[in-house]
Symmetry: D2
Subunit: 291 residues, 4 copies
Amino acid sequence: MSEPRLIALLSGPDQPGIVAKVAGWIFARGGNILHADQHQDPEERIFFQRVEWVPASGTGTEQCREEGEAFAQFATSELGMTVRVTRSDVVPRIALFVSKIPHCFHDVLLRAQAGEFHGEIACIVSNHPTLRESAENYGIPFHHVPIGSAGTKERADSEAEQVRLCREYDVDLVVLARYMQVLSADLLNRLTVPVINIHHSFLPAFAGGRPYHQAYARGVKLIGATAHYATADLDEGPIIHQDVSRVNHRDSVSELTRRGRDLEKSVLAQALRWHLESRILVYNNKTVVFQ
Amino acid sequence: MSEPRLIALLSGPDQPGIVAKVAGWIFARGGNILHADQHQDPEERIFFQRVEWVPASGTGTEQCREEGEAFAQFATSELGMTVRVTRSDVVPRIALFVSKIPHCFHDVLLRAQAGEFHGEIACIVSNHPTLRESAENYGIPFHHVPIGSAGTKERADSEAEQVRLCREYDVDLVVLARYMQVLSADLLNRLTVPVINIHHSFLPAFAGGRPYHQAYARGVKLIGATAHYATADLDEGPIIHQDVSRVNHRDSVSELTRRGRDLEKSVLAQALRWHLESRILVYNNKTVVFQ
Amino acid sequence: MSEPRLIALLSGPDQPGIVAKVAGWIFARGGNILHADQHQDPEERIFFQRVEWVPASGTGTEQCREEGEAFAQFATSELGMTVRVTRSDVVPRIALFVSKIPHCFHDVLLRAQAGEFHGEIACIVSNHPTLRESAENYGIPFHHVPIGSAGTKERADSEAEQVRLCREYDVDLVVLARYMQVLSADLLNRLTVPVINIHHSFLPAFAGGRPYHQAYARGVKLIGATAHYATADLDEGPIIHQDVSRVNHRDSVSELTRRGRDLEKSVLAQALRWHLESRILVYNNKTVVFQ
Amino acid sequence: MSEPRLIALLSGPDQPGIVAKVAGWIFARGGNILHADQHQDPEERIFFQRVEWVPASGTGTEQCREEGEAFAQFATSELGMTVRVTRSDVVPRIALFVSKIPHCFHDVLLRAQAGEFHGEIACIVSNHPTLRESAENYGIPFHHVPIGSAGTKERADSEAEQVRLCREYDVDLVVLARYMQVLSADLLNRLTVPVINIHHSFLPAFAGGRPYHQAYARGVKLIGATAHYATADLDEGPIIHQDVSRVNHRDSVSELTRRGRDLEKSVLAQALRWHLESRILVYNNKTVVFQ
């Protein structure tokens, strides 16, 4: 499976024949569809599609890029779709934002080492120096960017530095791996790339701070974790993936926290994997995930 | 296992030696402990215990009753515990409250027929006549009690009739099997028996009405169901059991509803089974469930 | 969604352009694809597709039938595919085979009543009279066909009667809802319709008889259920769906049996739902399930 | 919770009064029971108990050791029980056996770093040098012990060296973290400590080699992992914990392997945690796990 592949994510007003036109365009140019999946929102009358194909044999990297551009042009102008095309021979670059909590940090890096992601951890950005040595053991550049209080000059400088690092490392995605700071609307805008966050509760239950304490106080019998795209509304972004784990009256807050770590790791990794494989479309603050 | 057994649920201020004193009391009178489980809330310093034992051999029904009373007396006066003692030879009686939605109704009755519950469905009370014929096929008395609007004379009459029926049938428990009416604080007080409700969401997410519509709108990736004791605060009572099911962007509200039915059935049945086996203690609006 | 829809399941040697040709054929005749999903087995080089579409508007039942035949003709002769076309306006008919155990029987019938299946329970066939009255309460014809010992004249007569009933009721599917008899290879051949069975273990573990006893003896920590197409090799047919439930050392065989009932019900219902929605293709004794 | 605690695991012929006698003995000497849980096998008439207590206040490490010995003496001679007593102030020492596969290795070590285990990784023993550098990053001694073919002098030497290392490091437990060699019956005997293995299937399904290939070939819809005590009969030892993950027809063997890694990590870690907290009793090739 070493030939370069193209993956297109389309969305737009539903109309008859889109599937046939997309497949026809690819076939007419000698491409071979490997996967195609689509979805309609029958109420909103929106069409969504993910199509993955090998362009005509003999197509090299440059031709593959051109073919992707041609497809995007076709889907936009002839089908009226919004489209994003990615290529299997281009590996997305990721900035991993962390604080002191190490479990998601190690988990993402070990999975990256094991080849689980179609992506590369380009750099680590942290508001604490805690994980510097570990980062260096993994051979990943580590940048300590202390964060001032919200509204201060220091905060503005910190955010400017975060934006600068993301540009310097040319990242396509920011992952908040238990990064314990809220990203301001302004910062989210200036990053210009998607940001995936892991929240340690089954949203919308227990949004906000200290969700395991909230869960303990309410006496729920399941705890959860939620991976979502970060938006200016904290904990309100489009949900990508969720999972839960059974707990009982014997579980203290620290036991909930321990169990929650396993959820946070697996839920974040799955969301990251799907994003990097171009499986996710966002609309109406929800996600379509083509598995 | 046909000898009558006693089950005691104790709770109260923690102090050294309770386990030894309880076990010692039972052993001294010739009883044999089958199960004993306890829990401490280390912050609140409360002790909880469930102990199940066979009194001295040859003990008949009457002696078993007396032994239970003696134990309650001992636990109260000597250990300072709140205690509830039940007997395996006394089968709890249940009033099943339903409306038009049949799935939990059938599920509870079929499980009762299959012998899954240590309990008997004594009567069915409904604000609609819809399920009368089905109830009669199961051989269970069905009472249609229409419900007037909240605050009206009709509502007061309805509630009085519901209380009267629960007394007439001498019920120990009311189960709201998708009964689509809120029980007033006054009604809950007058029933004097526990009331178990099934809510069709993973509480505290999506409390209130139309939870599957709320879940669809938020784009969650799991839907849930919650069995809890009904309290005057709607959807805020102590949670007994919860479960979830995975959904995705393809699932319409009606598909969520269909999947939710399976959750509601299994979660309600499990909560009911635990309650009827005297496995649940309530404190601080939470439950201890001795499994 | 009341317009009739066509669903085609295709499989055959993989080749470039199948997706485009299928979509092109439908589009050229004015059809609108609602769902299309495909799969390739890269080792065996087999292509699989499920495509669901609304034929040109104004198409009635008769035209829908003709359109389905035209598609089948096209897919066979021009694409070299094996194809099966079903229509949303034709409701499959099911023979439910049962013995004495009632839980899957009730579960399937209540789900059918609730409209969960694109199918109709045409008749019930049982080797015991036990469930006759319940069947009649559901309003479904019940046929008691006692089964002689394997190899006897009585057995041959029983099987002939089972085949005759399936023809008389014109069934498209046989469901073994805890039917406690093995279907001979000869009977399976003569039925000429698929047969879905529910086995009460996580196959291939604990094939054969008394799987809960086997599970108890081995001390497993999860029990399972498996829905599969019945084949002449007992418990070896293509697996459609499986699920498991956690158990522990406290669970006796009878407790495993009780928990297993819930698994058997939900796993069988899901397999049945998928089959009736034409979501399943079988190859190499495995299934492709288009969800 | 810094006072030293004692934990006793008892098993033996069931008889009335054991619970009372155990609790009475502890109470009479000023101890305070924190947890006590028991189980009876009603068919085999065996009694099992786990009891955890704080000895009389002011008890130091030495007294705690003596109290444990006194309890063991009491339980053996007066109750006829087999008993094992452990202390919270004694941290079990673990030898981690690995080969080249790193995921369970990293998972166990990171959890150990995070304080998830009541135990210390004393040394790492491997038949390959692959993980030496990683081991050193964790600060754990690494020993490369190449393994000769079964039956050879080299194999005997290797096993002797493994036994020697376990003695040198004074380990209480050996964990096979995807160690790709079978331990001979002789080696198991000479180690004299329990050995926990993780098998990458839902045993008893797919025992032996290449279980993910077996699972793929059979077309199962769930894959699993099983942690068990190693015995001379490969993959037949007492099962401690199992879990499964849903897969479908799209999942290749390498995808099953990737998903399986997550199962193997979490299942092994849970089994290890329970063992280190003295929660497991073995009998009849099964386990009682007091959670």
